[in-house]
Symmetry: C2
C-alpha cells in the first residue's frame, strides 16, 4: 500500500495527552469563572459567509484570512470572536435581553507567518457585555474582577491588571491642544515601556511636534504609576479643564473605587495612564494584564469599552465592553516559563484494574463501583507480562493499580498498590475505593498553574 | 455607512442562549462520562493538509470535503475525528502508551446538501481504544457500558443498545457457502427493519440468488431478537461449523456475559444479529443505539471493532474499537421530539442584583459573596424603570432578584424575590445566599434530557 507521511500543519497546536488534560482543565475553569459572573455561553460557526465576516474590511485582517469556496459560496474562517458576536446580536436582536452578557471560547484562524509561539489556529476566550443604546459604567468596573477571579482560579499568582480610560487620554490631549495629534501620540505612548522615556519624548517633540513642556507634563502624568505614585490623586487636579477629561476621570475613579467590593486586591490592580491599547476601537475603560516577572510576554488578557459593536450590520447602537484571553499562546508561554503546576494530576485515570483470574466479572464489577463514585478507571485486559502491565500504569502516571486474584475475590477484597510510595495493601472493596478517592483528590483538585 | 445583511450559513447550527446552555451541559456530561471510563481528551486541528486528510481517498467523502488553499498549501477541514486520530497515533506513536484510550468532542465539516436536520458543521463525540498489534475483547465488552452510562447521565431513559459481531455474520455466510455474496447480503440485511421480512427475502432470493431455504434459515436466525427470542441460545447450536463463526460467537457471548458486571441492565441492551453497520470497515463487535419510540431517528450512537486504524500512514498494525455520537443531530432531534427537560435551569444567572442606592459597593459586595459560593450572579446597573429591570430577569428566567436599598443596607440585610412564587423576604445576607443556593439546586443539577 502507498503510504502518506502523516504530519500536523505548522502553527497548529496539537498537544500530547498530559498537556491536553492541563489545557482542558484551564478551559473548564475559565468557563466556570465566566459563568459565575452571569455570562451565558455562545458557540457560533467557524465558517461564515466571506461577505459577512469581512464586512468591516481592513487590510491586515483580510490578508490573514482563510478563505474558501464551496459550490457557489464564498466562505471564510472566523479570525476572532467579536465579528461573529456582532453578527449574532444583529440577527437575534429581538430574542435577546440587554445588556447581553456572553462568553465564547473557541478556535479562530489567522494565516500569520509561522514562527515559534505564533499560532494560525488558536483558542480565544472572550467575554462581552452588550448594551442596547446605552451601557452603565458598572459593567466596565466589573471586568477587572472577572480577570482577577479567572486567573486566580487557574492558579496564576503573579499578575497585575492595568486599567486606563481612553476619555482621560483624549481629554488630556484636548486640554493641551494636542487633539489633532492624539492618535499618533497614543501610539507612541503605547510603546513607552518598550522604548523608554527619553526616546518617547524625542519622538513626541521631534517627530510629532509636541511642545517640549507639554510633552514633559504629559509624560510626567502618564508615568506616575511607574514612579509609584497613584495617578488617581494627580488626575483630580485636572478636573474642570474639559468635559471629556472630566467624564473619563469620573469613570476611572468609579472603576477604581469598586475594586475592593469586587474582591480585587490592590496587589493585582493598578491604574496606569500609559495603557492605550493600540486600536482606535476603544472609547472608555481599557484593560491589560501582565506578568511582572515576564514583561516580554506582553498582555495575557486585554480589552476595553467600545461604542458600537455592529455598525456594519445594523443601525442599532450597541455599545459594549469586553476582554479576551489568547488561550493557546497563554498555554504555550506558561509551559515555556515552567508556570504549570507539577502537582496537578495529568494521568487519564485514577486507578488501573488488573484482572488476574479467568472470570473478569469481579474485576469489572469493582471498576463499575469506582466509576459510580466518579473515579476515573481503566481495566487492563491485554495479554502481557506483569512487568508490562505495571509499565503501562507507570508511563501514564496512573496513581493506583488494583489487583483482583483468586484470593482477593474469595475474601471479597482487592489489593491496591500506591504507585507513588510503592506500598501495597489488601482491603475490602469499599475501603479500597475510599483510599483511592482520598489519594487522588489533591492531584485532581490542584490548580493547573502553579506560580 | 454601507451595511451588510448579517446571516448564518444554512446547515450551520447556531443556538439561542437557553439552548446553548442545554447543549453545553450535554457536552460537559459526556466529557465526564468518557473521563470516568479512563479516556483521555484529545484536540486536533480543524484544518489538515489535504494530502494527509484524504490519504484514504474515496468518492463520497472527497466530494463533501471543504478544501482550501493558503499560500502554496492545499488544505482541508476534517470530516470526521477518526482520520485525525489515525494521524495523531501515527505521529506520536512513540510517546503514547497502548492500549491508547482517547475521546474527542469537536466540530467536523461535510458539504452535504442542505436539508432539515442535516448539518454541514456538526459536533461528533468519539471514543476509541487503540491497541498496538493486538487488542483484548474486554475493550469491546466495555463499549455498551460507556454508551449506557453516558445517555443515563444525560437523562435519556428510552434507549436500547444493540450489539452484533461481524465475525458471526461472516462465519454464518461461510457455513452456508454464501461467502461471495456476504457483502451484498449484509447490506440487504441492514435494511431489514426498513423494508420488512418479505421484501428482504425477495431481494436475497431473486436478486442475490440465495437458495430459498438458506435465506429462510438465515433470516429466522437473524430476526430471532425481533421475535423476542435471544439469538445467543440459538447461536450456541451453530458452534463448530467454522472457525470464524466460532470466534464470533465466543466474542459475542463474552460481550453479553459481562454486561451485568459493567452495570448495563437487560432493558437497555440486546444482541441483535441484524445489525451490520453498512461500512466494511468493522471486523468484530458492532454497536447501534436506538430510541424504541422513534425508530425513524435511527442510531444515536454507533461504532465497532476494526482491524487497522492507520494503514494509510504506518505499517504498524493498530486494531481498535470505537463509538461515535453525532451530537448536533442528536440535539436537534431531542428538541424536535420534545425530549429536553423543562426542569433544567437555562437562565444565565441564579441571581440578579439590583442596587437601589447611590453607592453600589454593598450590592457589589453581596454579588461577590454569592459568586464566591459558586452562584452565578449578575448586577443590573442600567438606568431603567423598575418594571424594565424585573422584565429583564423575567425574560432570562433568572430565578432570584435581590434588592439592596438604604433600609436593607442599614440593617445589614438584603431583600430576595423568588421570581417563580413571587414571594419576597428580607433576610441577613448569609441566609439569603443559602436560600438562593438551595432554590437553584434542583434546576442546576437536573439532567438536560427529560424523557
Amino acid at each position: 500500500m502507498d503510504r502518506i507521511t502523516p504530519r500536523t500543519l505548522s502553527g497548529f497546536m496539537e498537544l500530547l495527552p498530559e498537556d491536553q488534560i492541563r489545557f482542558d482543565r484551564m478551559v473548564e475553569l475559565i468557563r466556570e469563572s465566566f459563568s459565575v459572573y452571569g455570562f451565558t455561553p455562545l458557540d457560533t460557526p467557524v465558517i461564515e459567509a466571506a461577505e459577512v465576516l469581512l464586512a468591516k474590511g481592513g487590510g491586515e485582517t483580510e490578508k490573514q484570512i482563510y478563505r474558501l469556496t464551496k459550490g457557489d459560496s464564498d466562505l471564510a474562517l472566523r479570525f476572532d470572536l467579536t465579528v461573529p458576536l456582532a453578527k449574532y446580536v444583529s440577527i437575534h436582536y429581538g430574542q435577546l435581553a440587554f445588556p447581553f452578557r456572553r462568553f465564547q471560547i473557541g478556535k479562530v484562524y489567522r494565516g500569520e507567518r509561522a514562527q515559534r509561539g505564533r499560532f494560525r489556529e488558536f483558542y480565544q476566550a472572550d467575554i462581552d457585555v452588550i448594551g442596547d443604546g446605552a451601557l452603565a459604567v458598572i459593567n466596565e468596573a466589573e471586568m477587572p474582577s472577572v480577570i482577577y477571579h479567572t486567573f486566580q482560579a487557574l492558579g496564576l499568582k503573579d499578575f497585575v491588571i492595568r486599567v486606563n480610560n481612553r476619555k482621560v487620554l483624549n481629554g488630556l490631549f484636548a486640554a493641551m491642544n494636542l487633539e489633532d495629534k492624539a492618535g499618533a501620540i497614543m501610539q507612541t505612548v503605547d510603546k513607552l515601556e518598550k522604548i523608554g522615556l527619553t526616546q518617547t519624548t524625542a519622538i513626541l517633540v521631534d517627530e510629532l511636534g509636541v511642545p517640549k513642556d507639554s510633552a514633559d507634563r504629559l509624560l510626567e502624568l502618564l508615568t506616575s504609576s511607574q514612579r509609584g505614585q497613584s495617578p488617581v490623586g494627580i488626575l483630580a487636579s485636572y478636573m474642570g479643564k474639559n468635559d471629556l477629561l472630566d467624564a473619563g476621570i469620573e469613570e476611572l475613579l468609579t472603576v477604581a473605587r469598586y475594586m475592593e467590593a469586587f474582591g480585587v486586591p490592590d496587589t493585582h490592580f493598578t491604574v496606569d495612564l500609559t495603557i492605550a491599547r493600540g486600536l482606535d476601537y476603544y472609547t472608555g475603560t481599557v484593560y491589560e494584564t501582565i506578568i511582572p516577572a515576564h514583561p516580554e510576554i506582553g498582555s495575557i488578557c486585554s480589552g476595553g469599552r467600545y461604542d458600537n459593536l455592529a455598525e456594519y450590520y445594523t443601525d442599532k447602537k450597541l455599545p459594549g465592553v469586553g476582554i479576551s484571553i489568547g488561550l493557546t499562546r497563554l498555554f504555550y508561554v506558561l509551559e515555556e516559563q515552567k508556570y504549570l503546576n507539577p502537582g496537578f494530576l495529568t494521568a487519564p485515570a485514577d486507578a488501573l484494574i488488573l484482572p488476574m483470574t479467568e472470570d473478569w466479572a469481579p474485576a469489572i464489577a469493582f471498576a463499575t463501583a469506582l466509576r459510580s463514585m466518579g473515579l476515573r478507571t481503566q481495566i487492563y485486559g491485554e495479554e502481557k507480562k506483569f512487568k508490562n502491565k505495571m509499565g503501562y500504569a507507570d508511563k501514564l502516571g496512573i496513581p493506583y493499580v488494583v489487583f483482583l486474584g483468586e484470593d482477593e475475590i474469595a475474601a471479597n477484597k482487592v489489593t491496591v498498590k500506591d504507585m507513588h510510595t510503592g506500598e501495597q495493601e489488601t482491603l475490602p472493596a469499599r475501603a479500597a475505593a475510599e483510599r483511592i478517592a482520598a489519594g487522588v483528590k489533591p492531584g485532581r483538585t490542584a490548580k493547573p498553574i502553579g506560580v
